[in-house]
């Protein structure tokens, strides 16, 4: 095997960043999926243990993690839409604008979600 020069400097473009983040967010979502199933399986052992477990989750740091999860899912979903659009021949020539547009939508949804969750974070019940 002959040696080769290895450089990943070309990975700095918007398309490449979107690709790398899509992969990373996919892994996070898969890991969350497994954790979620494991946590839910507690319910099989009866409601007492399950409810206690759910109560321990009523903490600010869990909510912060949940907001991060929302961000990751939003990214993966919206970028997924972008990739599917390419497949039907839409937006390939404008992939950067499409990315910026969809990410703006994601950011707005994320902000709205966080605002909606803030009362919990501050320890108040929602009506």
């Amino acid at each position: 095997m002959m040696p080769a020069y290895r450089s990943r400097k070309v990975m700095g473009g918007m398309g490449a960043v979107a690709f790398a983040m899509h992969r990373a967010s996919g892994v996070v979502i898969a890991l969350y999926g497994i954790t979620h199933v494991l946590v839910m399986s507690y319910a099989l052992g009866g409601d007492v243990g399950f409810n206690r477990l759910m109560e321990t989750f009523q903490q600010p740091w869990v909510l912060v993690l949940e907001m991060l999860l929302v961000a990751v899912v939003l990214f993966h979903m919206l970028n997924g839409v972008r990739i599917l659009l390419f497949d039907i021949g839409v937006g390939v020539r404008h992939q950067k604008a499409l990315f910026i547009g969809l990410m703006t939508v994601g950011a707005v949804v994320l902000v709205l979600t966080v605002l909606d969750t803030l009362p919990w974070l501050q320890g108040r019940e929602l009506v």
């Binding site: 020069y5 290895r6 450089s7 490449a16 690709f19 390419f86 497949d87 039907i88 020539r93």
Partner: protein, 239 residues
């Protein structure tokens, strides 16, 4: 350093003597309109005759001089030093292609993949007496994809190629697309065999690195997506 000079850092590797590569720095007097290729010639003629690099046309036509210049794959003969907007030009060989010496890489795997898609007109009927006719509208379909100069800049920039040496790569898929949309071509089925496979057009992850680096401004992703749709239609029996 006076304004009319700049530093050229050149990747050096001689498989007969070196175990690892290094960068040699040269001070090069800057001339108006000077390209990276000219700077390499300056080094070759004035400083170090052992420097190896490829070129032929010096006019962005032959595709021999693609290299990794200041973080991107470009043609040395098409890249002016002033346009790099840096005091230093760092030149390395095309990444992920086997090294032969200094800036020269082994292109065999790239050419082999280009050949796999049969990059020429395939016809089964008896050819017309004079010439194949093509309407301006039919010709227009080829406009954006005929310019490829086989430089491998896109191939070397593709992370799928890095991870999967069997993947056909953007340039070969552009070629397949270019002939499959040509009204004179009848080689659809033959070419499909090479492209409609796991190592073919389905492997593209729309990373767009190929589009970023192509010196001929070809949109490889658009070509690959077009080929995908046409392949799908054919598989479903719509065409």
């Amino acid at each position: 350093m006076p304004e009319s000079q700049f530093t050229l850092k050149v990747f050096r590797f001689d498989p007969d003597m070196d175990t690892t590569h290094r960068y040699d720095s040269f001070t090069v007097p800057l001339r108006e309109g000077m390209t990276v290729l000219e700077a390499l010639f300056y080094v070759l003629e004035e400083k170090d005759p052992s420097l190896a690099f490829r070129y032929a046309c010096r006019g962005a036509v032959c595709g021999s001089c693609a290299m990794h210049i200041n973080g991107s794959n470009r043609l040395a003969c098409q890249t002016q030093i002033v346009n790099l907007k840096a005091t230093e030009a760092q030149v390395s060989p095309l990444p992920y292609l086997p090294l032969i010496k200094d800036l020269v890489v082994e292109m065999a795997s790239f050419y082999q993949k280009m050949d796999e898609v049969q990059p020429y007109l395939i016809t089964h009927k008896t050819p017309p007496e004079k010439e194949y006719l093509q309407s301006p509208r039919e010709r227009k379909k080829l406009d954006s994809v005929t310019d490829c100069i086989w430089c491998a800049a896109c191939y070397s920039a593709c992370p799928v190629v890095w991870g999967d040496p069997e993947y056909l790569g953007p340039a070969a898929l552009v070629k397949a697309h270019r002939f499959s949309v040509d009204s004179r071509d009848q080689g659809g089925m033959e070419r499909l065999k090479a492209t409609d496979s796991e190592e073919g057009l389905w492997r593209c992850h729309t990373v767009f690195n190929c589009v970023e680096v192509c010196p001929k401004e070809i949109n490889q992703t658009e070509a690959i997506e077009g080929l995908r749709r046409r392949t799908l239609k054919r598989r479903l029996g719509w065409k």
